[in-house]
């Protein structure tokens, strides 16, 4: 359920799979910006690595006619988010800007939301995050460090949205396209990730979302995501083909 004011922005991201090279720049940029705990080798072995945005790699075909498909996957910020109704303490809710928001100090760690998320983009802190003392100097003061026992996930860099909105207000003007750029989209060397306000008819996301290649992940499940994907183009593929 959402309430939308005509003037409030609706934040959205377009992911152009035809530009993505799987280079991982977005992944590291996100971790640097959002104080994501260090993913040690043990954490990977336990399959508990936290990557708010990750690159999924799918194989298609067989050697030598084999293709790899890269797909950046992050919180889809669904309009009908399956994670929201199952939270007993309203730690996850939908805000009036189209975003699925996590309130860390409400979360009691039931993990119902993660179980209910079809995209597997919610991560549980199984341990207290630990940084050697000197590394804490790098932590971003605008982002809360999440403690043990609570969920975290992509926030669309809400701290940057807030900062951008404040700056624009101070300058006495309306939000323009490009005033807010999350860390992943800022880094992306091929411009495969584009962020903006879907309510702004002139915005890049709005124009790109009208591309005939557009689709959304697990569209039939009715989650109504705010992240829109543009199909990878492969001249050798047959229409409607997916990965194996």
């Amino acid at each position: 359920m959402t309430t939308q004011h005509a003037q409030s922005p609706k934040w959205s991201m377009v992911v152009d799979a035809d530009r993505c090279t799987g280079c991982q720049a977005c992944v590291v940029a996100c971790q640097a910006e959002n104080n994501v705990p260090l993913n040690t080798d043990d954490i990977f072995k336990q399959k508990r690595a936290i990557e708010w945005i990750r690159i999924e790699r799918y194989w298609e075909g067989e050697y030598p006619n084999i293709k790899a498909r890269f797909l950046p996957v992050l919180c889809q910020h669904c309009e009908n988010a399956p994670c929201e109704p199952v939270c007993p303490v309203y730690a996850t809710y939908h805000n009036d800007q189209g975003m699925n928001v996590q309130i860390y100090n409400r979360c009691i760690g039931t993990r119902y939301c993660a179980n209910n998320c079809p995209y597997n983009v919610r991560f549980f802190n199984f341990w207290e995050p630990v940084w050697p003392e000197s590394l804490r100097n790098q932590l971003n003061p605008d982002v809360t460090v999440r403690s043990r026992g609570i969920m975290e996930k992509c926030s669309f860099c809400i701290q940057r949205i807030r900062a951008g909105t404040r700056r624009v207000k101070k300058e006495g003007r309306a939000l323009a396209d490009g005033d807010v750029v999350p860390a992943c989209a800022q880094a992306c060397p091929t411009d495969a990730l584009v962020f903006g306000n879907m309510h702004d008819a002139g915005s890049r996301v709005r124009k790109m979302s009208e591309d005939k290649r557009h689709y959304r992940l697990l569209e039939r499940s009715g989650t109504d995501p705010n992240v829109i994907y543009l199909k990878r183009v492969d001249p050798t593929a047959t229409e409607g083909a997916g990965h194996e």
């Binding site: 035809d18 090279t21 799987g22 280079c23 991982q24 720049a25 992944v27 590291v28 940029a29 640097a32 910006e33 260090l38 993913n39 040690t40 080798d41 990977f44 072995k45 399959k47 690595a49 990750r54 690159i55 999924e56 790699r57 799918y58 194989w59 298609e60 050697y63 030598p64 084999i66 293709k67 790899a68 498909r69 890269f70 597997n120 050697p132 000197s134 590394l135 804490r136 100097n137 790098q138 971003n140 003061p141 860390a183 880094a187 060397p189 411009d191 290649r213 697990l218 569209e219 994907y229 990878r232 183009v233 492969d234 001249p235 050798t236 593929a237 229409e239 997916g242 990965h243 194996e244």
Partner: protein, 752 residues
């Protein structure tokens, strides 16, 4: 037992005990500077962030970055939107330079070895003592040519010039070292285009790109710039460009390509000439270039490389070669760019391979045209400022293997009394056949200028901790330049976090003490850079328009560099005659060593220099999604046949040694090839790198390219021996529950 606030107050209440406790808990002097908030410098004001421009030094590309600072601490790297190389973007490696500053295992103070060399026992000493030791040592060797050897990582620009002058004044030998250098690439570029500067590939405006072994979307040469072009190449405001990857291994570039052609390692050049044969004999390309390349003989000159003759050696059918040639020369899809590099240049016939590949650009007329191969202009800064010296600044780049070997042998022979090392890690990066550690143990005295206790610094007698790039001054004549004259500048965006000093400043201090002021008249590296910048200022052109030098200098640092978009490169009008010698790649004995070992540059660890950073260790490989370990890519079917499962530990044995790695069955790995990432296997280098994985460079056979003496790092064959051990590979794949059961996740369409 935790020490709580209540305990503290209790103790502090008692007078004698309280005093002792308070004294012990006193904050560091640095943190104790009291100033009213109104008088704080603006980068210290609470709650405000500041952004400073500088140049990224995580690889050699020289991207412009801006660094976010809050209260004097570096927080985040972003691309500099105005910089001509990367236009506002960064790669994964670039993001991680902030993590290096605050790494807990950085060297904090100068250190002196206390135990046997290589034992790792050090004692911290003062800077004064350290510099005294070094000065006395160098003073004793003055006038004895060749007794001092200086080895640095790639050092161009003013720093390279300074090292060069210092070496000359001291009578020292100066060598640049990097594990995988680009000598074959430079030589091939020189042969194909008549200049040593790597050109700018205008991928953005190209209709087709054929990449031969060059993982240009991975770590090869200038990843961000190439990726910037690639995005527009695919989905810019024009017809979608087509990418073909001809590579012995399924690389990041192969994964993004429309067509991947697995080729026998070392046969890339023959394949390119077979394509040239088709283009010339079917008259598909530029006739004049064809005449020049073949010395007027046309396709007949290339008869030895006709598709039918090359097919078996290249492992690509003659029909497929013809298809590739016709597609490349298709007049409806021009310009087409051929890029060669990486493993294609790392064979005994490396220069032959790369020259043949780059010659294809002449055949389709894509040299010097929009969307083609654009020549780069010479840097406007070619020597040190002042009338002192007219010697050219050295080009940044490691020496070819044979030159490096000669220096190592000289050290082994005992001729070198003092070895100065800066940021280079040859003990780790050189093939074990060279036994660099053994040679270094014969050096009289080793001083290392480094930020981390890496494998080589571990052997030092004296350790001088240096500033990291974000704490130091510098400049970077861009090579490759972005098609225009451009120089990147680097300023200290943060104060040194520990008691470290700049390498340039240290050399200048030593120069003063040793009496080299006449040759090297500067006292700080900043002064030297300012004198260099004066020259740019006096050009009175380019991106910075300032009335005074001070204004120019400020703007130079604010922008992170200087460039002039009107100054592009020019090419000689002639097309070279192809040199067809050294066509065959020499590798090992295929009967006893059945697999070709292809080490590859990690997208995050680079060539091992970033292995100490946990963000880089935790960055999944784009293809295997693996992290934190060394794995070996084995063809999935082959692994099945051999009964090898993911995580089985195998030994890779070459005639020069053996390493262990965990099997990663990869459906796209050619059956005759084993791919192993470079970067791990450090004996030292901080808590996150030490003792982790293994180093494929160690088991390389010391074969070299016939024309340059460059290490043929893709020309080693190995056999694979199961050890019976298993370990779990840390990886991202299957780390989260599969969401792909609907086959609707990664959708594709044949039409743009």
């Amino acid at each position: 037992m935790p020490f709580t606030r209540r305990d503290f107050l209790k103790l502090a209440g008692g007078s004698a005990g309280g005093a002792a406790i308070l004294a012990a808990c006193r904050p560091g002097v640095r943190e104790f500077i009291e100033q009213s908030p109104a008088r704080l410098p603006e980068d210290q004001a609470t709650g405000t962030d500041n952004w400073y421009a500088t140049t990224c030094r995580q690889c050699g590309a020289g991207c412009g970055i801006v660094v976010r600072l809050v209260e004097g601490r570096a927080k985040k790297i972003e691309g500099n939107p105005k910089h001509p190389v990367n236009m506002g973007k960064t790669c994964a490696r670039g993001q991680s330079s902030v993590q290096a500053i605050y790494h807990p295992d950085r060297i904090r103070r100068p250190m002196k070895a206390t135990g046997a060399r290589g034992s790792g026992a050090f004692r911290e000493i003062s800077w004064e003592e350290a510099l005294n030791i070094l000065r006395d040592n160098l003073k004793g060797l003055q006038g004895q040519a060749g007794t001092v050897s200086i080895v640095t990582d790639p050092a161009g620009g003013h720093l390279g010039g300074l090292v060069q002058e210092f070496a000359r004044a001291q009578g020292a030998v100066f060598t640049q070292y990097e594990p995988l250098e680009h000598s074959t690439l430079r030589e091939a570029i020189k042969r194909a285009f008549g200049q040593e500067r790597i050109p700018d590939f205008d991928i953005k405006n190209a209709a087709q790109v054929f990449s031969f072994g060059a993982d240009f979307l991975g770590g090869w040469v200038s990843q961000v710039r190439h990726s910037r072009g690639y995005g527009e190449f695919r989905q810019g405001d024009r017809v979608r460009g087509a990418l073909t990857s001809i590579d012995a291994r399924f690389s990041s570039t192969s994964a993004s390509a429309d067509t991947w052609v697995p080729v026998t390692p070392g046969a890339e050049g023959k394949l390119a000439l077979a394509m040239a044969h088709v283009i010339i004999s079917e008259n598909l390309g530029a006739a004049r270039a064809a005449q020049a390349l073949t010395g007027g003989r046309g396709a007949a000159a290339l008869d030895a490389f006709a598709p039918d003759r090359v097919a078996a050696a290249a492992g690509v059918s003659a029909a497929r070669i013809r298809e590739l040639a016709r597609a490349f020369a298709d007049r409806a899809h021009q310009p087409a760019i051929a890029i060669g590099g990486g493993s294609a240049g790392a064979h005994t016939n490396g220069v032959f391979n790369l020259t043949a590949i780059y010659a294809l650009n002449h055949l389709v007329g894509s040299v010097g045209v929009r969307g083609g191969v654009l020549p780069n202009p010479e840097s406007p800064l070619t020597s040190l400022p002042g009338a002192v010296s007219v010697r050219l600044l050295p080009k940044a780049g490691g020496a070819p293997y044979t030159a490096w070997k000669a220096e190592v042998d000289r050290i082994r022979g005992g001729a070198v009394k003092t070895l100065l090392i800066r940021n280079a890690n040859p003990v780790w990066g050189s093939p074990s056949a060279l036994d660099v550690a053994g040679a270094f143990s014969r050096a009289g005295f080793i001083a290392s200028f480094s930020s981390f206790l890496d494998d080589t610094t571990y052997m030092a007698d004296l350790v001088l901790p240096t500033n990291l790039p974000l704490e130091d001054w510098g400049d970077m004549p861009l090579d490759p330049a972005p098609g225009i004259e451009a120089v990147g500048f680097q300023q200290p965006v943060v104060r040194p976090f520990y008691e470290t000093r700049g390498f340039g400043d240290l050399l200048l201090t030593l120069s003063q003490d040793l009496g080299y002021e006449r040759q090297i008249p500067w006292t700080t590296f900043r002064d030297l850079l300012r004198d260099g910048a004066q020259r740019l200022y006096q050009l009175r052109r380019g991106s910075i328009n300032a009335a005074t030098f001070e204004g120019f200098w400020n703007e130079l640092l604010r922008a992170g560099g200087w460039w002039d978009e009107t100054r592009t490169g020019t090419l000689p009008a002639t097309v070279p005659l192809l040199d067809l010698t050294d066509a065959d790649a020499q590798t090992g004995n295929a009967a006893t060593y059945p697999y070709a070992l292809l080490p590859f540059e990690s997208i995050s660890l680079g060539n091992g220099q970033l292995a100490q950073l946990p963000w880089m260790q935790a960055t999944p490989d784009p293809i295997a999604t693996t992290t934190w370990d060394t794995w070996v890519e084995v063809n999935m079917k082959l692994a099945e046949e051999q009964g090898l499962k993911e995580g089985d530990v195998v030994r890779l044995e070459s005639p020069s040694g053996a390493i262990e790695a965990a099997v990663y069955p990869n459906p796209a790995t050619p059956p005759g090839v084993l791919g192993v990432p470079i970067g791990q296997g450090h004996k030292a280098f901080g808590r996150w790198a030490q003792g982790r994985g293994s180093n494929p460079l160690a088991i390389l056979e010391p074969r070299v390219d016939a024309k340059t003496g460059s290490l043929a790092w893709a020309a080693t064959r190995v056999r694979l021996v199961p050890t019976g051990n298993r370990r779990r590979i840390p990886k991202m794949e299957n780390s989260v529950l599969a969401v792909d059961f609907t086959k609707e996740i990664a959708q594709v369409t044949p039409k743009d």
